[in-house]
């Protein structure tokens, strides 16, 4: 939890500091912070359909939050410095002061619930509550309904589980991998795995954000897509009518 609070504090501090001194022509630090935001906004614009601007903020916020939380988890001292407790059977247990936030299921499940509420909320807003329930509860040939309704509901819920467990599993496995390598190989080989964990931290943040975006896009497009009988509306080519990027405003 401390890791997550630290991550949000870092983001908040950078935001406040940069908005005070933001200039039209970005300096080095400003360009460094603006680059991932503009890059991700470009991706959301390319794949998010017409209403991309509504949820781009949420997607970018999730990406930055998870990325900073993951990177904080890789700092030296995190997860190692802590208070030693007596365990149930008299063994010594270390309770670290700061842990990698993603190695705690509460953090990832909380984020996944945010994403879950977001994509159901956007689905209801786009199709109306009746349209959303109809999409969830009914199937195309009517006689398939009793079979497909539970599958629909389970697939919605499994998104929640897979989103949270993916981030948790990757970050937790990364921690275990690093400590195992430290015990096995000693000095220099763990550095390679630390580099690998940097890549994992980035990719998992990106995956979480992109999956949230894809689910939102699917929830919005569900109705439209059904009418056209097109099952793959998630990846539309860049829309010529799409509004301009936030960077160009």
């Amino acid at each position: 939890m401390v890791g997550a609070v630290l991550a949000s504090l870092v983001l908040l501090a950078v935001t406040v500091w940069l908005t005070r001194r933001a200039t039209l022509v970005p300096g080095r630090v400003q360009a460094l912070v603006e680059f991932p935001i503009e890059w991700l906004a470009g991706i959301v614009r390319g794949t998010g359909g017409k209403r991309w601007a509504e949820f781009a903020g949420l997607v970018i916020a999730i990406f930055l939050f998870v990325l900073v939380a993951n990177l904080i988890g890789l700092l030296p001292g995190v997860g190692v410095v802590g208070i030693v407790h007596e365990g149930e059977h008299g063994e010594e247990l270390l309770v670290p002061v700061v842990r990698a936030a993603g190695a705690d299921l509460n953090f990832t499940l909380g984020l996944a619930i945010v994403a879950f509420v977001a994509f159901i909320g956007w689905g209801i807003r786009a199709n109306g509550i009746g349209g959303y329930l109809k999409e969830l509860l009914s199937a195309e040939p009517a006689y398939m309904t009793p079979l497909l309704t539970p599958i629909h509901i389970i697939s919605e819920l499994s998104r929640l589980i897979s989103l949270s467990m993916r981030l948790f599993g990757n970050i937790f496995a990364g921690e275990v991998l690093l400590s195992v390598m430290l015990v096995l190989a000693g000095l220099f080989i763990p550095v390679a795995f630390l580099g690998f964990e940097l890549l994992v931290a980035f990719v998992q943040a990106l995956v979480f954000a992109l999956l949230t975006m894809t689910y939102i896009v699917l929830a919005i497009a569900e109705h439209r897509l059904h009418d056209r009988g097109d099952a793959h509306a998630g990846y539309q080519p860049e829309d010529p009518e799409a509004s301009p990027a936030p960077g160009s405003a």
Partner: protein, 74 residues
């Protein structure tokens, strides 16, 4: 109790075979596509990452089963 740990190990070990093959196939096809058309690497990136994440989800389910076997059962 010991069989629980064995079951957890088997669950994650066998459960990662499929996703491993799947990610390998996906990656090889992505490399092939980039080799044929290097300009497409930008457009391939997002669908590739998403496909990787969805394939990986199967391994994550195996991990969940393993964790349940260790911590939640008995």
């Amino acid at each position: 109790m010991e069989f629980q740990l064995l079951a957890a190990g088997l669950a994650i070990g066998l459960g990662t075979i499929g996703p491993g093959i799947g990610i390998g196939i996906g990656f090889s096809r992505a490399m092939e596509a980039i080799g044929r058309n290097p300009d497409a690497s930008g457009t391939l990136f997002v669908p590739y990452i998403l496909g990787l994440a969805l394939t990986e989800a199967m391994a994550i389910y195996a991990l969940v089963i393993g964790l349940i076997l260790i911590f939640a059962v008995g």
